[in-house]
């Protein structure tokens, strides 16, 4: 089976766009990706559209109603925060299966402000704040504290992730925020759920991203100059682990996905030049250094202390600014990661360019749970 290629990819600058509709935002990114590929909507054979907020609202069809009702197949995808990666993967899979040659994947989200999670109380009484907290900051704080219990990771070490990612975003014109945040500022910001302060929580923003995927045959017809090869596409759900149903286990679901992805790509973590991983909260990024095999278990604290994951370090992580600073429009993030990797692999990342980037890994987690991992390779 031959490889699948990304020949067009783009994202809008993340922000707040209350005057736009979800399909309008999705359509914007779709046209940008099509222009990047030098193709038209009529060239697309299918659309995989990821959106969470209106998952039953036919967002894909409404995107096409904005930009081109060709009658193509549309699948609306939802997998919590792994929605965008799922849409991208479904597009990939349709080409791998030989059903299509040229497919569009779009991820889009429009979010309000405020806490995510902690719902439930449909029957009886609400349980939030009664039986612990189900809000996302608390869930990921508990996961971070689990790392602290095993490895002595400190509040300060978690906070350093935000310092790094906010710094990276000052070099990313598409990021929602582009503000330096020194360590003291991060640690003294409003505490949301210890140890996550406000600056250690990803920002709820509106955003969209899109990619055009093609078969190898089609890529060669179009010209390979800016094509990027998809070396691995993996999706996992949460395997059984003892506390998973009470304390969501983002580690196991990532580890099995990472193992499969490295095998599929025929590389190891040390071959990666950059990683865009799921820093929904600063605590989460620390866990994923180990989950993705970027370091041995227990070494993540040292990695952040020694700057190994900063731009210029051994393995730059989230040079886009990550979810913490670029923003996390839930359905778009999985494809925004692909955009970031492609930009570096094409040598077009400007001030934040990772030198000689050849392999990039994109990782997302959707709580409930799903993990999507893609490995992309520069076409020589």
């Amino acid at each position: 089976m031959s490889d699948v290629y990304v020949v067009g990819v783009d994202m809008i600058k993340f922000g707040r766009f209350p005057d736009k509709t979800v399909p309008q935002l999705g359509a914007q990114a779709a046209l940008m990706a099509l222009d990047d590929a030098g193709l038209q909507i009529q060239d697309m054979q299918a659309l995989y559209c990821g959106n969470l907020g209106q998952a039953s609202g036919m967002v894909g069809q409404r995107v096409l109603q904005e930009i081109g009702q060709t009658g193509m197949a549309v699948v609306n995808c939802a997998n919590a925060c792994a929605t965008g990666a799922t849409a991208f993967r479904e597009a990939w899979m349709s080409i791998k299966a030989g059903v299509f040659d040229c497919v569009l994947a779009v991820g889009v989200e429009q979010m309000g402000k405020g806490l995510l999670g902690g719902a439930g109380g449909a029957t009886g009484i609400p349980k939030e704040g009664l039986l612990g907290s189900g809000t996302m900051p608390a869930v990921f704080a508990e996961a971070g504290m689990e790392h602290a219990r095993h490895h002595g990771t400190t509040f300060e070490q978690f906070a350093k992730v935000s310092v790094k990612n906010h710094h990276h975003s000052t070099m990313n014109p598409k990021a929602m925020y582009q503000i330096e945040t020194p360590l003291e500022t991060v640690m003294n910001a409003e505490m949301i759920s210890y140890p996550n302060t406000k600056l250690m929580c990803s920002v709820n923003v509106d955003g969209s991203a899109a990619a055009v995927l093609v078969s190898e045959k089609k890529a060669k017809e179009l010209g390979m100059k800016r094509a990027v090869r998809v070396k691995a596409s993996v999706l996992t759900s949460d395997p059984y682990s003892d506390r998973d149903l009470v304390m969501p286990d983002v580690n196991s679901v990532t580890r099995i996905a990472a193992k499969q992805a490295y095998e599929m790509a025929g590389i190891g973590p040390s071959d990666l030049n950059l990683v865009e991983l799921h820093d929904c909260f600063a605590t989460a990024e620390i866990l994923h250094y180990e989950n993705l095999g970027l370091c041995a278990d227990g070494e993540a604290g040292r990695m952040i202390d020694e700057g190994e994951t900063a731009l210029g370090g051994r393995i730059p992580v989230n040079v886009s600014g990550g979810l913490l600073s670029k923003g996390h429009p839930l359905g778009a993030t999985g494809i925004a990661n692909i955009y970031e990797l492609c930009t570096h692999l094409r040598g077009e990342a400007g001030a934040r360019q990772v030198e000689n980037a050849r392999f990039g890994l994109a990782h997302v987690i959707g709580l409930g749970s799903a993990c999507g991992i893609h490995i992309l390779e520069k076409v020589a």
Partner: protein, 143 residues
């Protein structure tokens, strides 16, 4: 209690609280006879080993150890903060999430694996649309 017009005793906040309103409330899990996994809430299939009809009710312990936690400072309107959201491994099996009370919510006061007791009390005054009261469980540092 057999008279339909009598006011209902407090209801369990979640179905795995048994004996609500009696002097012997407890948490109930379901244990798999095939692989030993312990779940909260009723089920007939084990999601660890796939065992069908291998599950039996298991009375969970009133004691456990603090596995992980967070201290919640920002929440929805009406919820008193800060509070400790605790993940507790119960002695003999089962992991449960709940509020750790009776201790100042400060990381300096908490240590991993500190022993806790499970207690039952009114569910913070919360009532449902019909005005029913509820019993919930909480954790408290062991005496």
């Amino acid at each position: 209690m057999s008279d339909d017009n009598q006011v209902k005793g407090p209801l369990p906040a979640v179905p795995y609280i048994k004996g609500a309103g009696t002097d012997d409330p407890y948490l109930e899990g379901m244990a798999c006879g095939g692989c030993g996994a312990v779940f909260l809430g009723e089920r007939t299939t084990c999601s660890k080993c796939g065992g069908r009809d291998t599950l039996a009710a298991k009375r969970l312990a009133h004691t456990g150890k603090l596995y992980s936690y967070s201290i919640v400072f920002r929440s929805f309107p009406g919820i008193e903060v800060p509070y400790i959201s605790a993940i507790v491994d119960l002695d003999g099996g089962g992991t449960v999430k709940g509020n750790l009370i009776g201790i100042e919510p400060d990381p300096a006061n908490l240590s991993f694996d500190m022993p806790v007791d499970v207690i039952f009390d009114d569910a913070l005054g919360r009532k449902d649309k019909e005005g029913n009261s509820y019993i919930s469980y909480f954790f408290k540092p062991a005496a």
